[in-house]
C-alpha cells in the first residue's frame, strides 16, 4: 500500500502572530546589516485615535445650525498671555514645522503661499529659515531647536512667533537626522556642515537644561524681541501632563503637543513605533494640565500628530485644543504617495521612482533617502522640479479649505456659531481604549473606564 505523509495544508501556511512576515523581515534585515532601520513618516501601527470618537449633533435637545449659511466663526488667536503682537489666524489649522533639508525650497514656498491664502501660519524646521519661506508666508513661526542649525537673531527678528522645540511626537527624546544624500551644498551651508555628511541633530538644547533654565531661555527670546512675539513651546507627547505644566510655568504663550502619530523625515523605526503616546491621550493630558493651572484660554494649545480631516480638527478642538498643526497630511496633499506628479498641468507617472525605492504609492516612507519620486522630500536638483510651487500651493490651499469646511459643518451640526465652542460634551467614544484615554463616555453609556470608581 502507498503510504502518504499526512498533509495539513492549512497549518503549513499558518503565519505566526509573534513572528509574522514583517517581523522576520526585520530580524533578517538586522542580521544582514547590523544597523537599525531609519525611515520617514509617523507610527504605522493602529492606535486609538480621533476615529474612535463620534459627535453628538443637534436634535431635539440641542439646536443645530444650518450647514452652509449660518455664521460659524473660525478665527483663532494665539499668544495672548505675554506677547504684544499675538498671532491672528483665520482658521484654527496651521502647518507644522518641517525643515528645509527635509523638504525642498519649492515645497517651502508652496506651503507659505497656501498658508497665506488661507490666513494661517507655516513653520520653519531644523535647518533655519529660507527666503522662499519667509517671503511667501505672511505669518511665519520660527523654530528654535536643539541643533540651532542656521539659527540667527536676524531671523528671530523677522519671524512672527518663536517655537522652542523640546521634542517631537515621532521621536520624543531624540534629535533629528538628515542623511548625507539630502545634505546638498545649500543645505550644508545653512547648517554649517560638510556637504554629504550624515547629520545628527542634538536631542537636548545646548544652552539650557530643565524647566528652570527654559524659563530664562524664553525670557531671553522675549528680551531679544522686545516682548512682541509669541513664544510657543513644542513637546513630543510622553509625560504630557507634567510637560505641559512645566512649559506653562516656564512662561510659554502657546504649548504645542505632538502625539506619536506625528511624522518625521528620518528617524529610527524603533523610536517611531515604540516611544511616545497617542495624540488622543496627549490632548486629554494637555488640557488637564492647563485646567489644573487655571490657564485654559490664557495659554493656547496646539495639537498635532495624525490630524488628517476636518473631523479630526473638530474632535481636537472639542477636547480642548485651540488649534491643530498638520505635517504629513500636508505632504500627502502636495502629492506624497501619489502615482503621478504634475508638470505644467500634465500628470506624469512616478511609478519607476517608487520601484527604485522598493516600494509603491500608498506605502512609501522613504523621505530619508532624499529620492522622493514626486519631488516633495528631496534636495535633488532634478527630483525637486517635480513639485511646482503653483501646483503645490493650490493643492495645499484646497486641502486646508476642505478641512475648514468640514470643521465648520460639524460645528454647525452641533449648534455652534464658533468652532471654539465645540466641547467635550459633544463627543462620545466608540472603544473602551478611546473612552479611557480621552476620558469621554462610551457611546450610549455614561461609562468612562477608570472614572468614578469604575
Amino acid at each position: 500500500m502507498d503510504i502518504k505523509p499526512v498533509s495539513f495544508k492549512r497549518v503549513s501556511r499558518e503565519e505566526s502572530a509573534s513572528f509574522d512576515r514583517s517581523t522576520i523581515d526585520y530580524i533578517q534585515n538586522a542580521a544582514a546589516h547590523g544597523l537599525y532601520e531609519i525611515r520617514g513618516m509617523g507610527a504605522k501601527r493602529k492606535l486609538p485615535h480621533f476615529d474612535d470618537l463620534l459627535f453628538l449633533a443637534g436634535s431635539l435637545s440641542r439646536y443645530p445650525l444650518e450647514g452652509y449659511r449660518e455664521k460659524c466663526v473660525t478665527k483663532t488667536i494665539l499668544g495672548t498671555r505675554f506677547a504684544k503682537k499675538p498671532i491672528e489666524l483665520d482658521i484654527p489649522i496651521t502647518i507644522a514645522g518641517m525643515s528645509f533639508g527635509a523638504l525642498s525650497a519649492n515645497v517651502k514656498e508652496s506651503l507659505g503661499r497656501a498658508a497665506t491664502a488661507m490666513g494661517t501660519t507655516t513653520t520653519t524646521g531644523d535647518g533655519g529659515m529660507t527666503p522662499e519661506e519667509r517671503n511667501s508666508s505672511k505669518t511665519l513661526v520660527y523654530q528654535c531647536l536643539p541643533s540651532r542649525y542656521g539659527f540667527n537673531p536676524d531671523d528671530v527678528r523677522r519671524a512672527d512667533a518663536i517655537e522652542v522645540v523640546i521634542g517631537q511626537g515621532a521621536k520624543p527624546g531624540g534629535g533629528g537626522m538628515l542623511l548625507g544624500q539630502k545634505v546638498n551644498p545649500r543645505v550644508a551651508k545653512m547648517r554649517t556642515l560638510p556637504q554629504g555628511v550624515d547629520q545628527r541633530s542634538a536631542c537636548r538644547h545646548p544652552d539650557w537644561t530643565g524647566p528652570d533654565d527654559l524659563a530664562i531661555k524664553i525670557q531671553e527670546l522675549r528680551e531679544l524681541t522686545d516682548w512682541e512675539k509669541p513664544i510657543y513651546v513644542k513637546v513630543g507627547a510622553t509625560r504630557t501632563f507634567n510637560d505641559v505644566k512645566l512649559a506653562v510655568h516656564a512662561g510659554a504663550d502657546v504649548v504645542v503637543v505632538d502625539g506619536m502619530q506625528g511624522g518625521t523625515a528620518a528617524t529610527q523605526t524603533c523610536y517611531i513605533e515604540h516611544i511616545g503616546i497617542p495624540t488622543l491621550a496627549a490632548v486629554r493630558q494637555a488640557v488637564d494640565a492647563l485646567e489644573d493651572l487655571n490657564m485654559k484660554g490664557q495659554v493656547q494649545l496646539i495639537v498635532s500628530g495624525g490630524i488628517r480631516s476636518g473631523a479630526d480638527v473638530a474632535k481636537a478642538l472639542a477636547m480642548g485644543a485651540d488649534a491643530v498643526a498638520i505635517g504629513q497630511g500636508i505632504l500627502y496633499a502636495l502629492g506624497c504617495n501619489s502615482e503621478t506628479y504634475i508638470q505644467d498641468g500634465k500628470h506624469i507617472s512616478a511609478l519607476e521612482g517608487y520601484d527604485a525605492l522598493g516600494t509603491q504609492p500608498g506605502f512609501c516612507h522613504h523621505c530619508h533617502t532624499g529620492k522622493c519620486p514626486v519631488g516633495v522630500t528631496t534636495q535633488d536638483s532634478v527630483l525637486e522640479q517635480r513639485l511646482q510651487p503653483d501646483v503645490g500651493a493650490r493643492r495645499v490651499k484646497n486641502y486646508l479649505k476642505t478641512l475648514n469646511m468640514e470643521l465648520t459643518t460639524i460645528a454647525r451640526a452641533c449648534g455652534k456659531q464658533n468652532v471654539h465652542h465645540l466641547e467635550r460634551e459633544d463627543l462620545v467614544a466608540l472603544t473602551l481604549e478611546a473612552a479611557a484615554m480621552a476620558r469621554i463616555p462610551l457611546a450610549g453609556t455614561s461609562w468612562i473606564p477608570g472614572h468614578n470608581g469604575y
Binding site: 544597523l35 527678528r157 555628511v197 545646548p206 528680551e223
Partner: protein, 229 residues
C-alpha cells in the same frame, strides 16, 4: 564718543535691552556702561550695532546672547550660555564663565579670562573662543566650525562628536570624546593660535599647544562601524 549709563538697580532690564535694540541708529558706536547687574539674566542680548557695552559686575544667563557687531565686556563672571549663538563682534568675560559658554556661536570672538564650565563651545558654528583657564567636561561637543583655544586643562569627553571645528589645548585633557583625536600642529595652526592669543591678550607660546580635531569616523552611518558611540 557718546557715553551713557544704565543702572540696573534703578532701571529695568527690558527698558535697557529695548533701548539697545530700538534706540540706536545704524552704525551707532556709543559706549554704554551697565551698573549693578547683580547677576541679572539676559543682559545685552540681541545687540545689532557696533556699540561697546561694559557690564560692571556679574552677569546671569545668556549675557551678550546672539550678539551681532557689538563689543561686550563683563567685568565679573558670567552665567550659563554667555555669548550663545553670537554672530559677530566680541564678548570678553574678565572672570569665570558657567556652562555652555559660546554655545552654537556662528561668528565673533569670545574670550574668557578665567575658567569655563561644562560644554564650553558646544555645537560651535564658526566663532572663535579663547579660554584663559580650564574648561569642564563635554566642551566642544558636536562643534561644527570655528576654533577653541584652551590655555588650561580640559575635563572629560573633550570634542565629542566633533565636526569641522578645531580645538587647541595647552594643558591636559581628562579624556577625549568619541571621534576626537590629537593631530600634528602645522604652521597654519601656529599662525592661527598666535593670532587668537594676541586678540585675546594672552601671552602663551603657540608651540605649547596641541591640536584636537575630528577623526571623521562618525560622518556616515556605517554598518561596519559597530556603533562605537
Amino acid at each position: 564718543m557718546e557715553r551713557m549709563t544704565f543702572d540696573l538697580a534703578s532701571s529695568s532690564l527690558t527698558e535697557m535691552n529695548t533701548f539697545l535694540h530700538k534706540g540706536l541708529e545704524e552704525g551707532d558706536k556709543r559706549h554704554i556702561s551697565v551698573l549693578n547687574p547683580d547677576g541679572a539674566h539676559n543682559i545685552a542680548v540681541g545687540l545689532n550695532h557696533p556699540v561697546t557695552v561694559e557690564v560692571h559686575g556679574h552677569a546671569g544667563y545668556y549675557a551678550g546672547g546672539m550678539n551681532k557687531h557689538a563689543r561686550v565686556v563683563i567685568h565679573g563672571s558670567a552665567g550659563t550660555g554667555v555669548a550663545e549663538n553670537m554672530m559677530s563682534g566680541s564678548v570678553h568675560v574678565k572672570g569665570f564663565a558657567s556652562n555652555g559658554a559660546g554655545a552654537t556661536a556662528h561668528g565673533g570672538l569670545l574670550v574668557i579670562d578665567g575658567d569655563a564650565g561644562l560644554r564650553c563651545g558646544i555645537s560651535l558654528k564658526g566663532a572663535d573662543i579663547v579660554v584663559g583657564g580650564s574648561v569642564g567636561s563635554f566642551s566642544g561637543f558636536m562643534a561644527q566650525a570655528g576654533r577653541m583655544v584652551i590655555c588650561g586643562d580640559a575635563g572629560d569627553a573633550l570634542g565629542d562628536s566633533l565636526y569641522e571645528a578645531v580645538i587647541y589645548l595647552r594643558g591636559n585633557v581628562k579624556s577625549l570624546g568619541a571621534d576626537a583625536q590629537f593631530e600634528d600642529m602645522t604652521d597654519a595652526d601656529y599662525a592661527v593660535l598666535a593670532e587668537l592669543l594676541s586678540k585675546a591678550g594672552m601671552d602663551h607660546d603657540p608651540k605649547s599647544f596641541k591640536r584636537i580635531a575630528s577623526a571623521r569616523t562618525l560622518y556616515h552611518w556605517n554598518a561596519d562601524a559597530n556603533q562605537e558611540y
